[in-house]
């Protein structure tokens, strides 16, 4: 198989974890006789510094000419005081919008070898296996107006939570489709006792659920969901929610597995060009030290092989190699005491030799 992959390492540890992932993909290509071509693009702070734009047009072109995209992370203190349009996150948000990457999938699955890393007691997290489906191109993130105004004669500010019914529908369809291949349970999270958008969300969820009679639909208020994720995470199979709720709940849920450094994600578009990235950020405090955990990005690449290229065997091979490395006891600094940790590159090499 011949595929072109856009690589957007971005800022901070983004570069290091993407470097490792590329090596792993090269090893997979060699072993399974595929040809992967890599095209690098600028995004985030780096792109601001070099092109004066967090998402240069060239980068979009590189993405559009690829079969899938792997992103590292964006952001850093260097750009924190920039005007809004010149912040690294703008590049990421603009990319999501430009490529219509509307469905963000974050699997939350505990690793047996890491059960002790969670702040939660073992009996709560043991066997957890769910996926968060977050709407990624609507809601408060993109609604207009989002600006300073005068309200009742006073200085005020407004943001807008806007959804088209069709946007709500397509993300719910994604969630139900996914649930059909899993344990057939969808938890739709909203705030229907307060928000009109949530009441529409709930209506659409009911409508869509009629098309999937084999899947059970449960509604849960977002405050309760924030609690249930800690109280009994095993109850969940597929969680689907709007953009901001999904942002909050998925970062919270990451604590179940113990480290953000393990969590992969996929952002799916309607036309088949998908993006894969670790859930963690650019971690400027540890950037350039060769101590970041590359596993989240490596596992995101496995998601890519499965979802974008249909390469199930290859995806499994990576996942198995990661398991083996973890079982051998090797860990980066986020998962073990200082002194015992191994480097980013070393984890990459071990994954490759475990392949």
């Amino acid at each position: 198989m011949k595929k072109t992959i856009a690589l957007l390492p971005g800022d901070g540890i983004g570069k290091e974890v993407v470097d490792v992932t590329v090596e792993v993909l090269k090893a997979v290509a060699e072993h399974f006789q595929h040809q992967f071509n890599f095209n690098y693009g600028l995004i985030g702070g780096d792109a601001i510094d070099q092109k004066g734009n967090p998402l240069p047009e060239e980068t979009l072109e590189i993405c559009r000419n690829s079969d899938a995209i792997i992103l590292g992370a964006v952001g850093g203190p260097k750009w924190d005081n920039n005007p809004v349009e010149l912040r690294p996150e703008r590049g990421l948000l603009a990319l999501r919008k430009a490529l219509d990457l509307f469905a963000n999938l974050r699997p939350i699955k505990t690793f047996d070898s890491l059960l002790d890393s969670s702040p939660l007691k073992k009996e709560y997290v043991n066997g957890v296996d769910f996926i968060i489906v977050r709407e990624l191109t609507g809601g408060l993130y993109f609604g207009k107006p989002s600006e300073r105004i005068v309200h009742e004669g006073q200085e005020a500010v407004v943001d807008t939570l806007l959804y088209k019914r069709s946007e709500i529908e397509r993300i719910l369809v994604s969630a139900f489709e996914m649930a059909q291949n899993r344990r057939k349970h969808v938890t739709s999270v909203d705030k229907a006792n307060v928000l009109e958008s949530s009441r529409v969300w709930r209506e659409v969820a009911e409508e869509v659920s009629k098309r999937y009679p084999d899947v059970e639909l449960e509604h849960m208020l977002v405050d309760n969901a924030a609690m249930q994720l800690i109280r009994s995470p095993k109850q969940f199979d597929v969680i689907v929610t709007e953009n901001m709720f999904g942002d909050i709940l998925s970062d919270e849920a990451s604590m179940i597995t113990g480290s953000l450094g393990m969590l992969s994600s996929a952002s799916l578009s309607s036309d088949g060009l998908h993006l894969y990235e670790p859930v963690h950020g650019s971690a400027p405090d540890i950037a350039g030290k060769n101590i970041a955990n590359p596993i989240a990005t490596v596992l995101s690449a496995a998601m890519m092989l499965r979802q974008s290229f249909g390469l199930e065997e290859e995806a499994k091979a990576i996942e198995k190699a990661v398991d083996n490395v973890l079982n051998s006891g090797l860990r980066t600094a986020d998962l073990t005491e200082a002194g015992k940790a191994v480097s980013t590159k070393r984890i990459g090499e071990e994954i490759i030799s475990a392949l």
Copy 2:
């Protein structure tokens, strides 16, 4: 001291937990020679059934003629399919707005005797002691428009996150004032990398912090905060945030202590008429069974004695009595295995005899 207290038991277990609390307050009055008059008002589902309005004008009058308000809880499946204006929660939201109860305080403090009840490991929660200051009368909860619209020719829906600068300022002032009497650290939670309202929030936080040079101000993104609450809850002293973020984070944080049934709250207004209520809801599934945990409401009454009436000794007496009862091993069903649990009333009696 002579004080008038408005009692709004509301729905579900609201009545049971308020009943116990009234008995405790009567015992305190007798012991410390105060006179507490109680005026009952309808709110929520009960008010809908009897008056066709979740917040009848009489109830508002009763509150306005009192020195403080104790609320149980509102809501239940009976009213879940009512039109928005006839839902129990509307009564609560309208009360908050009518009395300008803008600052919701939720203390999160672990009880030594309950350390094992948390889903989190003991070493994570042991010694946790922070308070969440949630803005309660602005943001997405009250902004207009909140309605179905046509957008780009399609069916859509909009909610509005609106804040006046003065609303942001007064809640931050409350947080800084509180921090001065605590460990002098404020964590201001926002989503400044996405929302304009959060950028204004951050600016105002910086401005206000200049007036409190002894208090340290830290900004934290809401997704990170959702994670940090689980990863290292001990880092927090005072958390301040807008209405919706506060709703989500405070329910999440309740899991640190193990049970919602223990968490009290105060909602403060600018003119001195404050409301006290448990953080938990009306729990229709266990209502009327005499098994609900009344401690959250009893502790809310202690907050009232301290905050509204300046009765520090009396507040401490209640808190100490609750501690003693817990240390004696008595627990309601939310905190222990079935079979070992004691009733709502029994806990009340034990608190009174421990006074």
